[in-house]
C-alpha cells in the first residue's frame, strides 16, 4: 500500500527564486545527499535525513545559474553551468565558485546529465550531445544543431538501458511534440512525433519515463488533467526514419486543467505515479499517488501553501516546493502481502529510519522488467557491488556455490557442495540450501541432461529443507521417476502437499519392478517384518501389475524357500506381503507422511482401481502384521503405526469404495478384511467387558477406603 509519510522542510531559509521554484534537485554521489540548485545563484548540498545543508556555493553577483548542478559520479565532483555557456567544476573542499575550474563553451547548454556508472553528458539547446570528457578536452569545439528552428527542448532524461546510456529529450514546436532518443552505443538518434490521442490541442505539462525491457514508457501529464502513456521502442526498427507514436490514456482527470502553476508527474514504480497539482479547479494543490494498474488514488496529501509544479523523486523521497520552502515527503510502497494483511509486518519498521530499498518488487528483482529509473539505479549499484565482490578473494561460500551450480559439471558441483556442507552453518543456512536447490533445479529444467541426483540427495538430507523452500524438487523427481529422492523427500520434508503425496503414491504403485530393482531405497522401515520370501506369492497375486513379473536374481532361492514353507504360506495366504520390500518401503514413506484428509481424498480418487486394490492389500497385510503382537506395533525402525495404517485403509475405502467392490480380486480382499475387522471388534468388545468389571473392582476398593464414617484402625508409627 502506498503511503506518504509526514513531510519535512529541507530549507530553513526560503529559496530566493520566487514562484519559479528551484532549478533542480539532483542526487550526489553519497546516498541521502542531494544538490539543490536555486534558480538564482546558489547551489546547496543537503543531507536529507539530517535536514541540514552540508555545503553551499554561489556564483558571483551578476552571473546566473542556468542549469541545475549535478554530481559527476565517476569523480565525485560537482558541475554547474552559469550564464548558459560557462561550465564550473568543483568539489566539496572548494569554497569559492569563482576560483574553481572554469570552461567556456561555444554553445548554450540545456542540461547536464549525470547518472551512476557513466560519464556526465552535456545536452545543448540545439539538441547536440557531448560527453563531458570530450567537451573538456576541447571546450570551444563546434556544436552542431540537431533540432530545427523554433523547436524548443521541453524535457529531457538520461538513463541506462542494459548498461548503455540512452538520452531522451522532448521538443515542442507549434504545439507539436517530438521525442528524440539518442543511444550512445550505436550513436543513433531516433526522432518520433508524439501524437496526442484527442482532437483538441492541449499543452503537455510534465513528463516522466520508466524503462521496460523493450520500450521506454513515457508518461505525460497534459493540461486537461489526464495522464497519457507513450511507448517508445528501445530498438527502433527503422532508426533513421521519423516515426509517429500514439499516446494512450492511462489516467483521467488526475488534476484540474487550470492549475495556477502547472502540474507535475513522476513515475514512482511500475504501478504508481505521483501527481502534483490541484485535483479540482478551486481546491488547494495536492500531491497524490495513483495506481495506474487499477486507476485508483492511493493516497494524497494537501499542500495548502501552493507549489511550483515541479516534482523530483529519488530513492524514496519526493521533493517539491511547498510555499517557499523545498519540502521532502518520504514515500513508501509496501507490496501487499498476506503477512502484511495479517498484520505481521505492521510497524515492523521503525518510522525514524529509512532503509533504502523498502519497496520490494518481486518481478523487478527477478529481472522481468525494470521498474522506474530509480530502482534501475539501485539495481545497478547492487550489480556493481556484486561484481566487485566476486573480484575480492573472500567471497561468501554460498555465492560461489551458486555460481558453480550455474556452469560447472555435475561432479564438480558435488565436490563443492560437500565442501560447503562441511563448513559451519550460518543462521540463514536453510535459505541458502533452498537457493542451491532452486539453482540446481533451474539448471535441470534448462538442460534436460543435467540431473545432479547425489547433490539433491545430500541437500535433502541436511534436514533443513521444506517443500516450500524448494517447490520444484519433488516435481522434478516425479518427472525423472526418481523414487529414491521421493522417498527421502517424503521422510524429510515436513510440508509435502497432498497432491504431491498422491502423485508419489501413484508413481510408487505403478513403477515397474525392474526399475525399482536398481533403485537404492532405504529399507529400514520394512527390514524386520518383510522377509524377502514372498516374491513367489507375489507373482500370483500381483499379476495385474503393469510389470508383474519380477526377475530378481534371488528368485530361485525364494522359490526354494517357498517350497519349504509352502504349507504354512498356503494356510495363511494373507500373511505374505503382496509387494516387494522395496515398494513396501516406498509406500511406508507415504504412510508415515503428514496429510489432511480433506485435501487427500480428491486425489486418492484418481488412483486406478487395480493400484488402489494393491495398496489396500498391502495395508491389510500391515494390519495383520500389527495385530500379531500385543502392543499392536510393527517391528523395525520407523514403521508405520497402527493408527496410520487404519487411517489409510479408511481413506482408501472412502475414496474408492464403489470402484473397488466391482473388482473380483478386491472383493475377495474386502471380504477377508471385513472378516478380520469383525473378529477384532468382537475381541474389543470382550476387552471392554473385562475393563468394565475391573473398574467395578476398583470402585469397590475405593468405597471400602472412603465411605465409612467411623472406624477404628491400627496404625504403626515408625
Amino acid at each position: 500500500m502506498a503511503d506518504l509519510e509526514e513531510g519535512f522542510t529541507l530549507t530553513a531559509v526560503p529559496l530566493g527564486s520566487g514562484p519559479d521554484g528551484p532549478l533542480g534537485v539532483e542526487q550526489s554521489d553519497k546516498t541521502d545527499q542531494f544538490l539543490v540548485t536555486d534558480s538564482g545563484r546558489t547551489v546547496i548540498l543537503y543531507k536529507v535525513s539530517d535536514q541540514k545543508p552540508l555545503g553551499s556555493w554561489s556564483v558571483k553577483q551578476g552571473q546566473i545559474i542556468t542549469c541545475p548542478a549535478v554530481c559527476n559520479f565517476q569523480t565525485g565532483e560537482y558541475i554547474v553551468v552559469h550564464d548558459n555557456k560557462v561550465l564550473r567544476i568543483w568539489n566539496n573542499e572548494d569554497v569559492n565558485l569563482d576560483k574553481v575550474f572554469k570552461a567556456t563553451l561555444s554553445a548554450e547548454v540545456y542540461r547536464i546529465h549525470s547518472i551512476q556508472g557513466t560519464e556526465p553528458l552535456v545536452l545543448f539547446k540545439e539538441g547536440a550531445v557531448r560527453g563531458l570528457e570530450a567537451l573538456l578536452a576541447e571546450p570551444q569545439q563546434k556544436i552542431e544543431t540537431v533540432i530545427s528552428d523554433e523547436e524548443v527542448i521541453k524535457w529531457t532524461k538520461f538513463f541506462m538501458v542494459f548498461r548503455h546510456p540512452v538520452l531522451i529529450f522532448i521538443t515542442e514546436k507549434h504545439g507539436n511534440y517530438f521525442a528524440y532518443v539518442q543511444k550512445f552505443n550505436s550513436r543513433i538518434l531516433s526522432k518520433y512525433t508524439l501524437l496526442l490521442g484527442q482532437e483538441e490541442k492541449c499543452v503537455i505539462q510534465s513528463f516522466s519515463t520508466s524503462v521496460g525491457r523493450k520500450f521506454i514508457s513515457l508518461m505525460s501529464l497534459t493540461s486537461d488533467g489526464c495522464v497519457y502513456e507513450t511507448l517508445i521502442p528501445i530498438h527502433p526498427s527503422e532508426p533513421e526514419k521519423n516515426q509517429r507514436l500514439v499516446q494512450s490514456q492511462l489516467l483521467k482527470s488526475v488534476v484540474s486543467g487550470s492549475a495556477r502553476s502547472g502540474a507535475a508527474l513522476s513515475i514512482l514504480d511500475q504501478d504508481h505515479v505521483a501527481v502534483l497539482g490541484a485535483p479540482r479547479p478551486a481546491s488547494k494543490e495536492c500531491l497524490s499517488v495513483w495506481n495506474t494498474k487499477f486507476q485508483t488514488l492511493q493516497t494524497s496529501k494537501e499542500l495548502p501553501q501552493g507549489t511550483s509544479g515541479q516534482l523530483w523523486y529519488y530513492g524514496e523521497n519526493l521533493f517539491m516546493l511547498h510555499g517557499k520552502f523545498l519540502t521532502v515527503i518520504p514515500y513508501k510502497c509496501e507490496v501487499s502481502s498476506l503477512a502484511g494483511a495479517l498484520g505481521k509486518l505492521k510497524h515492523s519498521q521503525d518510522p525514524g529510519t529509512h532503509v533504502t530499498p523498502h519497496f520490494v518488487n518481486w518481478e523487478t528483482s527477478q529481472g522481468c522488467e525494470l521498474g522506474s529509473q530509480n530502482s534501475e539505479q539501485s539495481k545497478r549499484i547492487l550489480r556493481r557491488r556484486k561484481i566487485q565482490v566476486s573480484v575480492q578473494p573472500e567471497v561468501p561460500a554460498s555465492t560461489q556455490l551458486l555460481a558453480t551450480i550455474q556452469k560447472d559439471s555435475e561432479k564438480h558441483i558435488e565436490v563443492e557442495l560437500r565442501k560447503f556442507l562441511a563448513t559451519k552453518r550460518t543462521p540463514d543456512f536453510h535459505t541458502i540450501i533452498g537457493d542451491v536447490v532452486i539453482g540446481l533445479l533451474g539448471r535441470c529444467k534448462a538442460e534436460p541432461s543435467f540431473y545432479p541426483r547425489n547433490c539433491l540427495m545430500q541437500l535433502v538430507q541436511t534436514h533443513v529443507l521444506s517443500y516450500s523452500l524448494c517447490p520444484g524438487l519433488m516435481e522434478v523427481a516425479l518427472e525423472k521417476t526418481d523414487v529414491q529422492i521421493l522417498q527421502l523427500c517424503l521422510q524429510q520434508l515436513p510440508d509435502v502437499p497432498e497432491s504431491v503425496t498422491c502423485a508419489c503414491l501413484k508413481l510408487f504403485l505403478s513403477i515397474g519392478d525392474d526399475t525399482l530393482q536398481d533403485a537404492d531405497i532405504n529399507m529400514e522401515s520394512v527390514s524386520d517384518y518383510m522377509d524377502p520370501v514372498q516374491d513367489g506369492e507375489m507373482e500370483e497375486q500381483t499379476t495385474f501389475l503393469q510389470n508383474g513379473f519380477n526377475p530378481e536374481e534371488d528368485n530361485c532361492d525364494s522359490c526354494a524357500q517357498k517350497l519349504k514353507e509352502k504349507p504354512q504360506a498356503a494356510a495363511d495366504e494373507s500373511t505374505s506381503c503382496p509387494l516387494t520390500p522395496k515398494r513396501a518401503a516406498l509406500l511406508n514413506a507415504i504412510l508415515c507422511s503428514a496429510y489432511s484428509e480433506t485435501f487427500l481424498l480428491p486425489h486418492l480418487k484418481d488412483i486406478p482401481a487395480q493400484h488402489s486394490t494393491l495398496f489396500l492389500q498391502y495395508l491389510y497385510f500391515l494390519y495383520l502384521k500389527c495385530s500379531e503382537n500385543a502392543t499392536m506395533t510393527l517391528p523395525g525402525t520407523h514403521p508405520p503405526t497402527l493408527n496410520q495404517i487404519m487411517d489409510w485403509i479408511c481413506l482408501l475405502l472412502d475414496a474408492n469404495f464403489t470402484v473397488v467392490v466391482m473388482i473380483p480380486e478386491a472383493k475377495r480382499l474386502l471380504l477377508s478384511l471385513y472378516k478380520f475387522v469383525k473378529s477384532q471388534i468382537s475381541i474389543c468388545s470382550e476387552l471392554n467387558k473385562i475393563e468394565v468389571s475391573f473398574r467395578e473392582l476398583q470402585k469397590l476398593n475405593q468405597e471400602k477406603n472412603n465411605r465409612e464414617l467411623y472406624s477404628i484402625e491400627v496404625l504403626e508409627l515408625f
Binding site: 505492521k346 465409612e708 467411623y710 472406624s711 477404628i712 484402625e713 491400627v714 504403626e716 508409627l717 515408625f718
Partner: protein, 734 residues
C-alpha cells in the same frame, strides 16, 4: 514408636461456606475474604498465607462487597444495606452505617482511600467520606434505573464506572453526574437473553473500562467515546468477577463454570509499542462459580462457591522458588473446630450455628498395622446444641472431664453443665452470666476442669472457678497498657499453674495462675503463632509458627530448651518447611513426656525428642526424597527467619540458622522399614519425626491415651457432595 488404635472419624459434617468476596491489600500483603455466611477472614500472605484473623458471620449480614480503604481499614457492605467497618485489633465490628439505599451490591474505595462509594439496589451510588473514626455520607451520584452491581474508580479518582443491568455508567466523581453510558449487548451466543448483568467493571488509567457480564463476555471499552473496543467471549455462563493488577498489565476474570482466565497486555509485534489485551491462560481450579478474584503482584487469587481459596502464583513474577511459587488451595480454617474430652472419649464439633457432641465407639479386638478392627460399640451422637440468634459461633470447648461445654458468639457467652447418668445426658445451662462476659475469642478449661479461661476481645484474659452449678470470677489479666491485642490462642499446663496466651502478632505471654500475675513473655517472632501447648511435668511451652518453625520454651527456666536449640541449630528438614498448611493443634503423650504430637491438614507427626533429629542412614533416602519432589535448595534459607527478622531477642538462634542445613538430603517421611531387618538397624534408621500422611484432610488429631489416637477427617468429596450442583458442562464421550 509403637502401635496405635486410631479412631478414624469422618462424621464431622463440616461444610465451609462459599467465598463471596476477596480483597487484597498491597500495603500489608493481606487478603480479606468474606464468605456467604458473613464471615470475614484475613490471610497474611507474607506469613505463608496464614489465616490470622476472622470475624464471625451473621445470618442477616450477607456480604456483597469488601474493600480496604485508608491504609488498612476494612469495610464490607451487604444485602442488609449496611456498611460495616471492622476493628482489626479487637476483632470486632466497629460500627455499621445504613446507606439507606436498599441492599448494597457493590463498594469501592477511592484510589486515595479517603472516600467510599457504594452501589445500591435502588440504583443510587452513594459517596461516603472516610473520617478517622467513622464514615460520613457526602453525596448521591445521579440515580440509575436499576441496581448498581459493580463499581470501579479511575486510578486518578476523577471518574467512576458503575456496572448496572444492561449498561455501564461513567460518572464524574467530583460532580456526581453521569457523563457516559455504555450499552452492553444482550445477545448471548446469538440468542437474546433477558438481561445482561454487569458483574464487574474495572477502570484503567488510560480511560479503558473492562466489563464482565452475565452473557459470558469480557468487554473492553473506551470510556471517553463510549465505544466497544474489544469483545472476548470467554464462557457460556456468567463471568462474575474481575481484578486488575496494580501495574494494569494483566487482569483476571472468574466465570460461573469455575474457570479463571488470565488476560495480559501484550505487544502486537515485538518491536512496536502498540499493545492489546490477550487472553493468555485459563485455570480450572474450581468446580463451581468463581465469585471473587484478586490480583496480587505475584499471584492470581480466586474464590467461589466451592469454598476453596486458590492462590495461583504467576510463575513469570516469581523470582525465587519458595513458598510463594506453589499453587495453594485453602479449604479449611486455620483454627480448631473440634475439642475433645479425653477421659470420656467425647468429641465436640463446632458448626456455624450449632454444636455436636459425639461419643467415640470402642473395640475389643486387636490387630496389626493397617487392620480395621471390628467395632463392639459404634460412635454415638449425644447432643445437638443449637444457639439462638443469627450470630455464628466463634469458639467452643468441652472440658477434659466432659462435664462442661462452653461456647461464644459475638454477643453472648454460653456455659452448659452436662450430667451423665448411664446412657442419659442431661444438659443444664448456667444462667447468670456476668455482664462483662459477653463474648470470647478463645475458651479453655483447665486439665482438672475446675477452671475456665476466657480470652475476650478487649485483650483481657479472665479466669473463672467452676463449681457445681455455677462459677465465680477469679481474676482478669489485663493487657499491658496501651495495647489492644486480642488473644486468639490459649494453653494451660496440665498442673494448672501456667497459662500461655498468644495474640495475633505479639509474642506469647505466660501467666502464673496460682499467683495471678504475668510470669514471662516469650520473645516476639515475626511469624504468627498457629498453635501452642504446655507439656506435662516439664512445663515446656511448645509453639508452632506459620513458617513451620516449632520452638520449645521452658516456662520455669524462662528460656528455650536444649532440644529447641538443637533443632534450630540443625534446622528443620526442607520437606517439613515446605508443608503448606499450618500446625493447628499440639498435644502430648500422657505417659511419655518426650513425645509431642502435632498435626496440620495433611499429616500428623509424633516427635520423639529422645531420638536424633534425622536418620544418618542414606541408603533409602534418595528414594524417599525424590518421592516428595522438591530438592533442597540454598534459597530456602529465606524461609527460615534469619538475619534481622528475628531481632536481638533470639541472637543465639539467629546464629544457628545461618548454618547450612545438614539434614536436607536425609529422610523426613519414613517408609515402612523392611520387617526382616533387625532391631539394631531399625533403631539406627529411626529419627525424631514420626509422620503419618494416612489420614487427610485432617481437622483434628489427639492422643486419647497412650495407645489410642483420634483423627477427625473431612474428605473433600463429602464437602463437594453437599454443595449445590455446578453448571453442567458437556464432556466429550459422556
Amino acid at each position: 514408636m509403637g502401635e496405635f488404635n486410631v479412631h478414624r472419624v469422618r462424621f464431622f459434617n463440616y461444610v465451609p461456606s462459599g467465598i463471596r468476596c476477596v480483597a487484597y491489600n498491597n500495603q500489608s500483603n493481606r487478603l480479606a475474604v468474606s464468605r456467604t455466611d458473613g464471615t470475614v477472614e484475613i490471610y497474611n500472605l507474607s506469613a505463608n498465607y496464614f489465616q490470622e484473623k476472622f470475624f464471625p458471620g451473621h445470618e442477616s449480614r450477607a456480604t456483597e462487597a469488601l474493600c480496604w480503604a485508608k491504609g488498612q481499614r476494612l469495610f464490607s457492605a451487604g444485602l442488609n444495606g449496611e456498611i460495616i467497618e471492622y476493628d482489626l485489633q479487637a476483632l470486632t465490628i466497629k460500627y455499621a452505617v445504613d446507606a439507606f439505599g436498599g441492599p448494597i451490591w457493590s463498594m469501592a474505595a477511592s484510589p486515595s482511600g479517603s472516600q467510599l462509594l457504594v452501589g445500591c439496589e435502588d440504583g443510587s451510588v452513594k459517596l461516603f467520606q472516610i473520617t478517622p473514626d467513622k464514615i460520613q455520607f457526602e453525596r448521591n451520584f445521579d440515580r440509575q434505573k436499576s441496581r448498581i452491581l459493580s463499581l470501579s474508580w479511575h486510578p486518578a479518582g476523577t471518574h467512576v464506572a458503575a456496572g448496572s443491568i444492561d449498561y455501564i455508567s461513567v460518572f464524574d466523581s467530583k460532580s456526581g453526574s453521569a457523563i457516559g453510558k455504555m450499552l452492553v449487548d444482550r445477545q448471548y451466543m446469538g440468542v437474546s437473553k433477558r438481561k445482561c448483568i454487569i458483574w464487574g467493571v474495572a477502570f484503567l488509567s488510560d480511560g479503558t473500562v473492562i466489563s464482565v457480564d452475565s452473557a459470558g463476555k469480557v468487554q473492553i471499552w473506551d470510556s471517553a467515546t463510549g465505544t466497544l473496543v474489544k469483545n472476548h467471549l470467554v464462557s457460556n455462563a456468567d463471568v462474575q468477577s474481575i481484578a486488575v493488577s496494580a501495574q494494569e498489565d494483566s487482569f483476571v476474570v472468574g466465570t460461573a463454570e469455575g474457570t479463571v482466565f488470565h488476560f495480559q497486555l501484550v505487544s502486537v509485534t515485538s518491536s512496536s509499542s502498540e499493545k492489546q489485551w490477550v487472553r493468555t491462560k485459563p485455570f480450572q481450579h474450581h468446580t463451581h462459580d468463581v465469585r471473587a478474584v484478586a490480583h496480587s503482584p505475584t499471584a492470581l487469587i480466586s474464590g467461589g462457591t466451592d469454598t476453596h481459596l486458590v492462590i495461583r502464583p504467576l510463575m513469570e513474577k516469581v523470582e525465587v522458588k519458595n513458598y510463594d511459587a506453589a499453587l495453594r488451595k485453602i479449604t479449611f480454617p486455620h483454627r480448631r473446630l473440634v475439642s475433645c474430652a479425653k477421659k470420656k472419649q467425647l468429641l465436640l464439633f463446632q458448626f456455624a450455628h450449632h454444636l455436636e457432641l459425639w461419643r467415640l465407639g470402642s473395640t475389643v479386638a486387636t490387630g496389626k498395622n493397617g487392620d480395621t478392627l471390628p467395632l463392639s460399640k459404634n460412635a454415638d451422637h449425644l447432643l445437638h446444641l443449637k444457639t439462638k440468634g443469627p450470630e455464628n459461633i466463634i469458639c467452643s470447648c468441652i472440658s477434659p472431664c466432659g462435664g462442661w461445654i462452653a461456647c461464644s458468639t459475638a454477643s453472648r457467652f454460653f456455659l452448659y453443665r452436662l450430667n451423665y447418668e448411664h446412657d442419659n445426658i442431661s444438659l443444664q445451662r448456667v444462667s447468670k452470666m456476668p455482664v462483662f462476659l459477653r463474648s470470647a475469642l478463645q475458651i479453655l478449661f483447665s486439665e482438672d476442669s475446675t477452671k475456665l479461661f476466657v480470652a475476650s476481645n478487649q485483650g483481657s484474659l479472665r479466669v473463672f472457678r467452676l463449681l457445681e452449678g455455677g462459677f465465680t470470677h477469679l481474676h482478669s489479666f489485663q493487657p499491658q497498657s496501651g495495647t489492644v491485642q486480642s488473644m486468639c490462642l490459649l494453653a494451660v499446663s496440665p498442673d494448672g499453674n501456667w497459662l500461655a496466651a498468644s495474640g495475633t502478632s505479639a509474642g506469647v505471654h505466660v501467666y502464673n495462675v496460682k499467683q495471678l500475675k504475668l510470669h514471662c513473655t516469650v520473645p516476639a517472632y515475626n511469624f504468627p503463632v498457629t498453635a501452642l501447648a504446655i507439656a506435662p511435668n516439664t512445663n515446656n511451652l511448645v509453639i508452632a509458627h506459620s513458617d513451620q518453625q516449632v520452638f520449645e520454651y521452658s516456662i520455669p527456666d524462662k528460656q528455650y530448651t536444649e532440644w529447641s536449640r538443637t533443632v534450630q541449630k540443625q534446622g528443620f528438614h526442607h520437606l517439613w518447611l515446605q508443608r503448606d498448611t499450618p500446625i493447628t493443634h499440639i498435644s502430648f503423650h500422657p505417659k511419655r513426656p518426650m513425645h509431642i504430637l502435632l498435626h496440620d491438614t495433611y499429616m500428623f507427626c509424633l516427635i520423639d525428642k529422645s531420638l536424633a533429629l534425622s536418620s544418618q542412614q542414606r541408603c533409602c533416602c534418595g528414594h524417599a526424597v525424590m518421592q516428595f519432589g522438591l530438592r533442597a535448595q540454598p534459597a530456602h534459607g529465606a524461609l527460615v527467619p534469619c538475619e534481622g527478622g528475628v531481632g536481638g531477642a533470639r541472637g543465639e538462634q539467629q546464629m544457628a540458622l545461618k548454618e547450612p542445613l545438614p539434614n536436607d538430603k536425609t529422610l523426613l517421611y519414613n517408609p515402612l522399614p523392611p520387617t526382616n531387618e533387625s532391631d539394631v538397624i531399625r533403631r539406627r534408621t529411626a529419627h525424631a519425626f514420626k509422620i503419618s500422611k494416612k489420614y487427610k484432610p485432617l481437622l483434628f488429631v489427639d492422643l486419647l491415651d497412650e495407645k489410642t489416637l483420634v483423627a477427625v477427617e473431612r474428605p473433600l468429596d463429602d464437602i463437594i457432595a453437599q454443595l449445590p450442583p455446578p453448571i453442567k458442562k458437556k464432556k466429550f464421550g459422556t
